[in-house]
Amino acid sequence: MIRSDYSRVDPKRRANLNYKKKQFATAEFQQQQYEHRLNFYELPPTAEITLEEFETWAINRLKVLSELEACTFRNKTPEETAEYMTGILNKYLPLRSNSSSKSQALQDERRKDHYSHFILRLAFSSTEVLRRRFSRLETMLFKLRWLKDDVFERKDFVKGLNLDWDEVGEEEKKEILDKLMAAGGVKKGDEMDWFKVDWERVPELVEQRKVFVRRGKAFVPQREQMSLVVVEFTKRLDNALELTSRALPRLDEDDRLAPILAHLSQSFTAPDSAYSSSDANIDGLNVITANSIDTLSTHFPLCMQNLHQNLRANSHLKHFGRLQYTLFLKGIGLSLEECIVFWRQSFKLITDDKFNKEYKYNVRHSYGDVGGDANRRGRGYTPYSCQKLLTEPLPGPGQAHGCPYRTFTSDNLVALLQRTGINDWDVLKGVKEDVGKQRYHVACNRVFEHAHKREIKRVKDDGSWSATDLDTIVHPNTYFKRSWLLKHVGEGNVGVVGGGDRMEE
């Protein structure tokens, strides 16, 4: 399947024709037996399947992956995602445990899982972006399945992986038991097993202080095993994808599979929360200048209002706040010159000299006016989306960036909202609930809908805006644009919002 040969013998038989060309000591192409429900996808499939199976299996898996991705875009919690995905998984890609079913059906669904994974691997190995996305989603899927797996089967599966880690001996355990329990949050009666690995292998556990670390060794509780296995899974998958992409140009293929693969990778497009330049063009909005920011700031989402208030209060913002705000302002159409004027005026306490030396460059860099070739060609950075704001590190002392729904405590959040004029008790309560469930952007959209109640009703009633125009907001710049347009419906040239396409991104 890899290298073209003139004789075009069935590649699976080729190895038998000339034993010197035999790649494997034992032939691998008989039916594989699937012992476990989980699979690390080490061995590629070798048996034959029909073209139709090839396509439908791939599409089914793709469906599962894109639903999984949609869950992250909607900011669902892991529990909600698991619940939502159960139905979808059962429909498209069922995988049952050893104890539940007859052996043949079991083998069949595992085979489908195995084959579909490798088909998509072919389809999504071509570019870096696709590879990264595929690996991220496959990892999520693996995690999901791991969590639902039977404990004993899981143990069996891990044993088969041959990952090297040391069990913590009884003596050592006794010596540091209280520390182990304190670090891992293990209570009496829980599973009392730990294993030792180099801390470098479990960086995220170390980062959250969920393991005890001593002299470079991390003591991982048994139940955190998942993160180790998952890291291993991702690592191997990334390597394999890299190899696949290199092999791809030499794929010995007639024109049966290539169209299917191309089609698959094209249809792997999910709701995009990215910024589009059309967000910057708002009809009826005059050219924005540094002086109009104060007036316009009433249309800003809470994250940007918070930055604006902080800026006005302290005449200063720290680096990440500046970056976030500059990009947002760039996104609403503020030109570089005006943006520099805006920051210069805002930093009242700073001399021209200091401003030019320490701050101006960064603003210009954000606009792509300076910096490396790549930065200039891309015209600087794109404005941050909600997803970006929700995943970046939390602000430290004196910093104000990020999404306030996430970074503020609920009391301070309510106070902030009240300052911006949201006093309706029901809304505030709803916001608190959303935030408690970590659905930050639902809270933000709730506030938006409340603040634009009347306008939304009006455009809905007269049918000038379609439902897609009022879809959930997942980008601060969309928030601004929609807010501005809604508040100016019926004014002069903005009144003709009927076009619909204007709101498309």
Binding site: W199, E200, V206, G396, F408
Partner: protein, 499 residues
């Protein structure tokens, strides 16, 4: 000609740097201050000597790259005319900076430290240095094959300070000649930490902004103690160099091979592990899980005593109306109200009494929650006021630059000297020598020019910089020893593979 050494660097040097380094070259006055070099002829002669030395140096680079000739070279150079330092001399004066780089800066140990071996190798040659020139221009991606070339460029450009970046996969000076951009990427760098007093501004009452006093230096002392022990005991790092940043902070360089090779994710993990204060909106910042992680438990024990002295007595953080923040941190409504009434009636109560009041009032029945919860809340408050506040972004990225040890802080003129973590308590930033003071000490020195075993006394040995350089030398020697045994082990283990 020196051009042949590294064409790019020397050309720029000779072509642009004198005007760049000396925005207003005040040559006559410079000569005036040197007692015996006042005539142009003498100056010319000196220039000639310098040129000759350049030639010598080139030879030693190519043929004897061992450290022996380099020492000799340094010996020769540290004999320039005595420099008269008047008390009015500014530390940013070009001749002061030149004398500093010529006579005091320990290039040799800096080289060994970054090179990890006595012979020049890529660990040093591919290392990025970034110079801040006297006219505030910032030159990135400088690199030098040997310590001497590095020294020469410093003397020529007189950077007001320079920073150290990562070791790259290729020579940083050649980065633009590569066909693929991905061939130029950072490989290793020491794991670094930066503790800066700015992050303490909201809790320190004695000073603000750029100024410090012995009272607030205690914050840095506490931070060094906590971070140092965590890095050693938890992560098993051995070679941790603490450096005074020259004004109001400290840097740490973790130089173990294992630390140097960490990628960004791992660096982020260590930074996250050590970071405790979250959120910037004035609410309760410290909310650790219970039971406390062993690292926090240990930190709490270290910080307890400091809290009594440094915070309660010296800083007095809740004087007058500032007690509002303390009230905000107390979770129990009933207790909070009782305390508020009490403190409103006597606003001048000092902080230690206010801290004690919490327990007194709680015992007398104003507590509606469990005592354990109050204890935890008090622990959280203690941590908020004492736990190290790192500038974590510095630690998270492999390619972040950090100011080198032993350079001069451009604002204070003090030398960024290493701090021995075993004696961190006695370190006093106000006794750290300034460059002007050091140069004066060389002139005032009356000892023998040679030690008993015939070695010439280096200029830095004549000054109060000596203990710091000695400490640094010891640190580097230990690092090199470990590095060497590491290589040997690798070689032994690798051998069966080769056959």
């Amino acid at each position: 000609m020196p051009h042949s050494i590294s064409p790019q660097s020397t050309q720029t040097l000779e072509a642009d740097s004198p005007p760049a380094a000396n925005p207003n070259p005040d040559l006559p006055s410079q000569d005036m201050s040197m007692s015996d070099a006042s005539s142009p002829a003498a100056a010319e002669e000196q220039a000639k000597v310098n040129l000759e030395e350049l030639f010598n140096d080139e030879d030693s680079d190519n043929e004897f790259s061992s450290s022996a000739p380099q020492v000799k070279f340094e010996d020769e150079l540290s004999q320039p005319a005595p420099l008269k330092v008047s008390p009015r001399s500014q530390f940013s004066d070009p001749e002061i900076m030149r004398a500093f780089y010529q006579r005091l800066f320990p290039f040799r140990y800096l080289f060994q430290w970054l090179n990890h071996s006595p012979l020049p190798c890529n660990d040093f040659a591919h290392r990025e240095f970034a110079f801040t020139l006297p006219n505030d221009a910032y030159l990135r991606y400088q690199s030098f094959p040997t310590a001497d070339l590095f020294r020469k460029q410093c003397i020529q450009m007189l950077p007001s300070r320079f920073e150290i970046g990562p070791v790259y996969s290729t020579n940083p000076r050649d980065r633009k000649q590569l066909r693929k951009a991905s061939a130029f990427r950072p490989l290793t760098k020491e794991l670094v930490f930066d503790i800066d007093m700015t992050d303490y501004d909201e809790i320190r009452t004695c000073c603000s902004g750029a100024s410090i006093c012995p009272k607030c230096w205690a914050f840095i002392t506490m931070a060094i103690k906590v971070i140092d022990v965590a890095l050693r005991e938890d992560f098993g790092f051995k070679h941790i160099l603490w450096v005074y940043s020259g004004r109001r902070g400290a840097h740490a360089w973790v130089c173990d091979k294992r630390a140097r090779e960490m990628d960004d994710q791992r660096r982020r993990a260590v930074a996250g592990y050590l970071e405790l204060l979250k959120g910037g909106d004035g609410a309760k910042r410290v909310n650790p899980r219970r039971p406390l992680h062993p690292h926090l438990e240990r930190s709490l024990n270290i910080l307890k005593e400091h809290f009594q002295t440094t915070i309660l007595h010296e800083q007095d953080p809740w004087a007058e109306e500032k007690s509002a923040h303390l009230l905000q941190l107390i979770p129990d409504v009933k207790l909070r109200d009782a305390l508020k009434t009490k403190w409103d009636s006597s606003p001048s109560r000092p902080s230690p009494s206010k801290w004690a009041d919490i327990d007194t009032l709680a015992k007398s029945g104003s507590l509606s929650m469990k005592p354990q919860q109050l204890l935890e809340a008090k622990q959280d408050i203690l941590l908020e006021y004492t736990y190290p506040r790192l500038d974590a972004e510095v630690s998270k990225k492999l390619n972040h630059l950090l100011k080198s040890p032993f350079v001069i802080h451009p604002g204070t003129g003090r030398v960024c000297v290493p701090i021995d973590p075993r004696e961190v308590e006695s370190f006093d930033p106000f006794t750290v020598p300034t460059v002007v003071q050091l140069l004066g000490e060389i002139d005032a020195w009356k000892g023998q020019a040679e030690t008993e075993d015939g070695k010439k006394v280096q200029d830095w040995e004549k000054t109060s910089l000596k203990p710091y350089v000695d400490y640094f030398r010891g640190f580097v020697a230990n690092l090199l020893k470990d590095e060497k045994s590491g290589i040997k082990r690798e070689r032994e283990e690798g051998e069966p593979m080769e056959f």
